[in-house]
């Protein structure tokens, strides 16, 4: 059975680079769902609906919109590259920690295996 450590380290490094660096070059257009939800409404410069009919009309704010990592940025860091990148790095590490930890806890214990 080959060691998993190097593969995990390499994979995490790729994920950290994608979330920490490449994420700054992602498209900022609304995604497929959001774009469809906005279609039919007129928006002002502050992105508020000023007229029309669309799925987004009854949208309510996120309950956790003031969280320190809200909208993939770190509150208080004003350089957007740094803010997005660090939020991405935090997200990858937290997701890996929660995922690997959670899956480890519910894993099948091998009976009699070393």
């Amino acid at each position: 059975m080959r060691k998993l450590g190097w593969f995990l380290a390499g994979g995490l490094l790729v994920a950290l680079l994608l979330a920490g660096v490449v994420s700054n070059f992602a498209s900022s257009s609304p995604d497929g769902l959001d774009a469809t939800a906005r279609e039919g409404c007129v928006f002002n410069a502050d992105d508020e609906i000023t007229g029309g009919t669309c799925m987004l009309q009854q949208e309510r704010e996120h309950q956790l919109k003031d969280s320190p990592l809200a909208d993939y940025g770190i509150k208080g860091i004003h350089n957007t590259y740094l803010s997005t990148g660090l939020a991405g790095v935090a997200g990858v590490l937290i997701t890996f920690g929660l995922g690997a930890g959670g899956f480890w806890l519910v894993r099948r214990r091998e009976q009699g295996a070393a």
């Binding site: 995490l12 950290l16 994420s23 769902l33 799925m55 969280s67 997701t95 959670g102 519910v106």
Partner: protein, 231 residues
């Protein structure tokens, strides 16, 4: 920065229907946990954590599909191929929960809707296609890549139609359902192509570097016979 709202926000679908889907999602995830245990050994557990972290990272990478419209990977098919259907659904759910609770992406009220569409429907569709396609396509990196691509396109469109069902049941606005369904299917077919390219590249890379870590190559080969034989 005008950061993305990438998933269903609060208030698009009404409270009662959102609540029903929370109950539905929790129920299915409980089944996933119990079925996942059989797959989760000492090696798959950390691998699944990595798959979740990778999906989180790639979901941040919105790519343009039309002028003014972007899309991002959902990850269901990728997860199915690398860690299997039950663990895969849990990986995508983990990402959605982290995004909702820490990044304010995807409404808290809408978490059941988002999990149902992306983690359950998308993953289930991806699984059915992967299992079917690997019966006919060669079990090598090329066959796996083709499988990942086709299954991703279908899986993303299926996930988008999950939203149409939820909107039909509890939408807070009254737009034409055929229009919503058609528009979402069209944009998500394009998003699925992008997802397919990413998923195919990823699984082919893993299949070349560490084929022993690709669930689909180990488990989908001979459905029953090889299950209990350690490699």
């Amino acid at each position: 920065m005008d950061a993305q709202a990438m998933h269903i926000a609060n208030g698009i679908v009404d409270g009662p229907v959102s609540a029903i889907f929370v109950v539905f999602a929790v129920g299915v995830l409980a089944v996933c946990v119990s079925r996942a245990r059989a797959d989760l050994d000492d090696r798959l557990a950390p691998m699944a954590g990595l798959v979740a972290a990778f999906i989180f990272a790639v979901q941040m990478l919105n790519f343009q599909v039309l002028p003014g419209v972007s899309g991002h990977l959902l990850g269901g098919t990728l997860a199915v191929i690398l860690v299997g259907p039950w663990v895969g659904a849990l990986c995508v759910s983990t990402v959605l929960i982290v995004q909702c609770l820490l990044f304010a992406d995807g409404g808290l009220t809408a978490i059941g809707l988002n999990i149902t569409n992306m983690a359950l429907l998308g993953t289930a569709a991806g699984y059915l296609l992967v299992a079917g396609l690997l019966r006919v396509l060669p079990k090598n990196p090329g066959g796996l890549g083709a499988t990942a691509f086709i299954a991703s396109v279908v899986s993303v469109v299926v996930a988008s139609q999950g939203f149409v069902l939820e909107y039909a049941l509890g939408g807070t606005t009254a737009l034409s359902l055929p229009w919503v369904s058609g528009t979402l299917a069209g944009t998500h077919a394009l998003i699925g192509i992008g997802e397919g390219v990413i998923a195919a590249t990823t699984v082919m890379t893993v299949a070349r570097v560490r084929p022993d870590l690709v669930y689909a190559l180990r488990r989908f080969r001979k459905p029953v016979a090889l299950e209990e034989v350690p490699a």
